[in-house]
């Protein structure tokens, strides 16, 4: 944290971009929700419950995307020793965990009518999403259980890098496990393929979620930088007392 890469440049860009990002997010959510709830037709098989897809799929996609992003930030921090990259990974984790949790909850709401159970082990994606949540909790636990920031950053980097590799190994093995125990006839979540009339709403919602994450992430980064400056100030104060 010593020669803290000057956050000024980052803060300048972030503060300039944030208003635009918030407004784009709001517009996209308006269009997406309107599309999801009103204009798109119900599914001939599932009826209205297909509308859950518009909140489930973006959250699930974002849950995985953010974890990969954390892996990328950790790799950058590991190679270039860039403290800002550590802050980016650290602040992205809680956001990713919330979206991952959201995907789990909406997923089980969606599966309930079809399988009649609240937790459908049958669907491999829900299971690997659950394990992804554990990866998030493990990563966040590293930050909270190591008090000294530079050391916590070094350990968190490794946990994220090891995690990113294993998330895909877990996805592969859960899918394989699913085909082993599950006869292939199970209805795939969201039907064989999403027909065109629903696709545009889903894409809008996905972009809206991503912009929401981007905005929240920039704001969290700003507060993380502020928190570090406060911590640094207190240390110097203690130092020359």
């Amino acid at each position: 944290m010593q020669q803290f890469a000057n956050p000024a440049r980052f803060l300048k860009i972030a503060n300039a971009a944030l208003p635009y990002i918030w407004s784009i997010t709001a517009i996209l959510f308006a269009i997406g929700l309107y599309g999801a709830l009103v204009t798109t037709p119900p599914d001939y098989q599932q009826g209205e419950t297909v509308r859950i897809m518009y909140v489930h799929v973006p959250a699930a996609w974002l849950g995985l995307f953010i974890y990969c992003l954390m892996g990328f930030f950790s790799a950058v921090a590991f190679i270039y020793r860039h403290p800002l990259a550590d802050a980016a990974a650290k602040t992205a984790a809680p956001l990713g965990a919330v979206f991952c949790f959201l995907a789990l909850v909406t997923g089980s709401f969606w599966g309930k009518p079809m399988w009649g159970t609240w937790w459908a082990w049958g669907d491999a994606r829900l299971t690997s999403m659950f394990i992804l949540l554990l990866f998030y909790l493990g990563y966040m636990a590293v930050w909270s259980s190591i008090d000294e920031p530079t050391r916590a950053a070094a350990i968190a980097r490794i946990v994220a890098l090891v995690g990113v590799v294993n998330v895909f190994v877990v996805k592969f093995s859960v899918n394989w496990w699913n085909t082993l125990h599950q006869p292939a006839s199970v209805i795939k979540m969201g039907g064989p393929s999403i027909d065109k009339s629903m696709l545009w709403a889903l894409l809008t919602m996905a972009v809206a979620y991503t912009m929401l994450f981007l905005a929240l992430h920039l704001v969290s980064m700003r507060s993380e930088i502020a928190a570090r400056k406060l911590r640094q100030a207190r240390l110097i104060e203690i130092g020359n007392r």
């Binding site: 394990i131 590293v142 050391r151 490794i158 946990v159 294993n166 190994v169 093995s173 394989w176 082993l180």
Partner: protein, 222 residues
């Protein structure tokens, strides 16, 4: 280079033998699990024999996890790791050597002792050989992944909980393919594809674990 690594492995084995190390507690843990499961599920033979491979893998996995947070802690606290990090021997080889010593003293014996205990759960004899083979392969992966958990929490006083939260998700693939490989006759496909993937996972852990442990321990040595 190799001679130094062997010196480290032999020292750790001698140390484990003298100090009792993790094997005693881990074996006690497996025995109690083996007794508790039939009590929990009831004496119904067919159910037990169906559950047996899965439960034994779970017992093996959890018992190796029990010894994870002590793997590097002793050497970290008494300063040996400082000296080992300075030597010509790359630190990744040091952590790998310690992990192999842990495998030989804890995971391997457990992987050999556990299958015969399956008879407690009316496991049919035909499954025993394949169970031992898959457990031995899997036990190396278990040690390598436990080492990552151990290294990441080496400097923490109460790292036990964090180790399980970090390592159990890593164990998911080992558990899935381990059990699949050991349920040869029951599963639709024969066990060899699962065994091959299990070996692949073990090899992957062999590459990731030394790097991760060395990097994590260096962060604590700073």
């Amino acid at each position: 280079m190799l001679q130094q690594a062997l010196a480290l492995i032999t020292r750790d084995i001698v140390l484990a033998r003298k100090q009792g190390g993790g094997l005693g507690t881990a074996f006690g843990f497996i025995l109690s699990v083996m007794v508790l499961i039939p009590l929990a599920t009831g004496p119904d033979q067919i159910l037990l024999s169906k559950l047996a491979p899965g439960m034994m893998w779970l017992a093996l996995l959890l018992s190796v996890l029990l010894t994870a947070d002590r793997m590097f802690q002793q050497d970290f606290e008494d300063g040996s790791l400082d000296i080992m990090a300075m030597g010509k021997l790359p630190f990744e080889i040091v952590t790998l050597a310690k992990t192999i010593a842990h495998w030989i003293t804890v995971s391997l014996p457990l992987a050999i002792i556990t299958p015969p205990l399956g008879l407690l759960m009316s496991l049919d004899i035909s499954q025993l050989p394949i169970l031992i083979v898959s457990m031995i392969t899997g036990s190396l992966a278990l040690s390598l992944l436990a080492a990552i958990g151990g290294a990441v929490t080496a400097g923490l006083r109460r790292g036990g909980l964090l180790v399980s939260l970090l390592v159990l998700p890593l164990y998911v693939p080992v558990l899935i393919f381990g059990v699949a490989a050991s349920t040869a006759s029951l599963g639709p496909s024969s066990s060899t594809p699962a065994l091959i993937v299990l070996c692949a996972i073990t090899l992957m852990s062999l590459i990731i674990s030394p790097w991760a442990c060395a990097a994590a321990l260096k962060a604590y040595l700073r």
